[in-house]
Assembly symmetry: C3
Homo-oligomer: 314 residues x 3
């Protein structure tokens, strides 16, 4: 998430009650999770396993629960609970400020775009030209829609990520990681009815140009979908997954989080994808195998009774 303006790192240290060391005169431009950080960003880390990765990432300022070495020009913000610090920063610089108008005054809609009745367009939503937004669509704050995009009725763009931290030693069981990211829909995308596309936690959920999505499809937070993909009805994709260009997922396919489906892969209906898939191949089953292997497997299962008879004849 990019701040609306550059924020002095000292101001942030005060907000989260952090010990600030290093480049104390710097300004932060945003806050992001480690997998999407950029130069000028804050990042946060509370597990020693990820210290090195965060300190040497593109992020300039590291919210961390222990002092340690770090490259020149960067800064550490040392606090007991980096996750709580993240929540404070998001609440301060991207507070929940719901539009109470069905179309926010800060939403913009391009030339020749039709927004039909009963839609909600949140704050800072941008829609390009030549789009059709059918009735009863919800597009939440900061989401961006390209040109020549169709979104059918009942679809929700920019719902919050399903992302919770378990707090076993607290009165609260699951603590929500507040979403401050967005959704970006590129040109010529078409999205069916009653779909849900979650926004990134801090970054972007993206649907690449020319991709076509059927009804009742779920796209999790921070998922990056390539160009010219086809997702049939009731497909579900968990969070932070990468779907490369021209992937085809048939009906009711489920895809696990943080994996990659390679360019042009095809996954048959009802398959479950637990791990990354290679480009250009065809898959089937739950868990998904290469389709020809799955077909062999089905034939082998069918021969078990034959095997049984054979060994009992001997």
């Amino acid at each position: 998430m990019r701040f609306d303006h550059k924020v002095p790192i000292k101001e942030i240290a005060t907000l989260i009650n952090a010990k600030l060391v290093g480049n104390t005169e710097a300004f932060a431009t945003g806050i992001n999770e480690i997998h999407v950080v950029e130069n000028g960003d804050l990042v946060f880390v509370d597990h020693p396993k990820y210290y090195e990765k965060c300190i040497h990432s593109a992020a300039s300022y590291i919210i961390i629960n222990k002092g340690t070495d770090f490259p020149e020009g960067k800064a550490l913000l040392i606090v007991d609970e980096p996750f709580e610090a993240y929540l404070k920063i998001v609440n301060q610089y991207r507070p929940f400020a719901p539009s109470m108008e069905a179309v926010s005054a800060t939403a913009s809609v391009g030339e020749n775009t039709v927004v039909m009745p009963n839609c909600f367009l949140g704050n800072h939503v941008k829609i390009g030209k030549d789009c059709i937004i059918y009735p009863n669509v919800t597009i939440m704050d900061y989401c961006q829609i390209g040109n020549n995009v169709v979104i059918q009725s009942g679809t929700v763009i920019g719902s919050d990520a399903f992302y919770y931290n378990k707090k076993t030693n607290r009165d609260i069981h699951y603590k929500k990681m507040t979403s401050c990211g967005t959704v970006v829909i590129d040109d010529n995308v078409e999205i069916g009815a009653n779909c849900t596309i979650d926004r990134g936690v801090t970054g972007v959920t993206r649907i690449g140009a020319g991709t076509k999505i059927d009804n009742l499809v779920q796209i999790g937070h921070d998922t990056i979908v390539g160009k010219n993909c086809l997702f049939a009805s009731q497909v579900g994709i968990a969070g932070a997954t990468k779907i490369e260009d021209e992937v085809i997922l048939w009906g009711q396919v489920g895809v696990n989080k943080t994996l990659t489906i390679g360019k042009g892969a095809v996954v048959y209906a009802q398959s479950g994808v637990p791990a990354s898939l290679e480009p250009g191949k065809t898959y089937f089953g739950s868990p998904a195998l290469e389709a020809k292997e799955k077909m062999k497997e089905l034939v082998w299962i069918n021969r078990i009774s034959e095997i049984w008879e054979k060994i009992n004849q001997k």
Copy 2:
């Protein structure tokens, strides 16, 4: 379902044209299905198999298609078709009376709760404090939402149960059992976008405190969900199921009706749950097995070709 006021049992007998025997001077406080009856309730039964259970249940007044013995203080209302009598009573004392305002005048909303544009709040809906109800949410009559609850866009709370009786000897094939129950959402629950939570047929569908539900999830009528459960996207739970505390259901899991999933059980994505599951265990597959058994099964399937070769070498 609780009546708005105590109703003389004689009035009900007249309404449904019943022969009234027993405690004819009593008052009924509500009508319920056998699994949720309380003292003061009417219950109805048309199959001899269930006569005993109904007559000796907590219900005080039994609508039945045959005279029989019953405990002192209770009453029988004898009619040819108890199911039709049920429908008449519901239509009389809880008639369909749709609010034609997007927010009914009888709906109440607590302090600091935000109800965003294009929502529908039906008659007698109660929402607690510090909640966020995102745009395009529908909450039907009599549903109750606790404090600090989040409901994302497009979700429907309190849709009618999918509950029909087959009438093979009639011009009508399926006759609907009219819903008169509600949904209760406890504190700190979060529900994703485009979910559907059916109300109880006569009783309550309940989501326990702290439970978090992702997008496009279906919860059937009269299902009781415990505290601090996690349901990932596209999970479907049929009617009258009991999900104990801290159960985790991953994406696209399907759960059959009238079963129990024990405390802390975990069910992997796309599994199908046909029968009750024990607490604390992990399950996978359709039909679901303990995950370690299912993993072994997958390994065994993989070895069928090896077996085939082995027996053909001999």
Copy 3:
């Protein structure tokens, strides 16, 4: 799709820049895909494999990419790209003309029908008598709803078909086949919350009388559902499928396109139906087998380890 008035075939030839041969003085009454054409219709064909079928179908006028023989009284409209001609005709005679009123002035609603708040009824929508349309329902242009129909909240009737032609040699990857068909819902149908029912591409998606549909169900374009069917929650049916009367599909069943499920067939939860099913039988599995065969298969799988031991003892 039926035109609003009879259109001279010469006018259409001019519009699509076609060479017109045969009955040049005729009038077209509509345009349809080959599987739903009627006398007086235009049809289009661009693959020699389907020339004969189209020319000898009920269609009177054939848009084709090559001259060929044809029956007397018919006409050919010869163009390079029949698919592009189809799009031009649909855009000309059934242009996208969105109602910007939540209830179009051309929508009609029968006696005793209740349309609750936040619904959208498009142009030329017809709803019969004694229906309940719950809040936040969307019914798109030209859809027809019978009598005594219930549609629960969030459901979308008449979304566009998910139907694209791959254009590998173009700058555009997938080209949409514009929908101009409708949905017809017959009497006594009940549809749950957040369902999606796509309209026919040129013809009709039909839900037969007395059929009951649970929440979050997807019905693809041009699917014809018979009478008194039951579809449980999260069922998905792809396009142009025929479901005969009294079929029962349990939760999360997926059904492939252009197949037939015979009368009274029952398909257990989570099954996947890749090909036509016989009437009156019960099916289970993905891919679906007769349920008793599937049950045997599960037993055999369970015996593989036993087989393994047996052959290793010898």
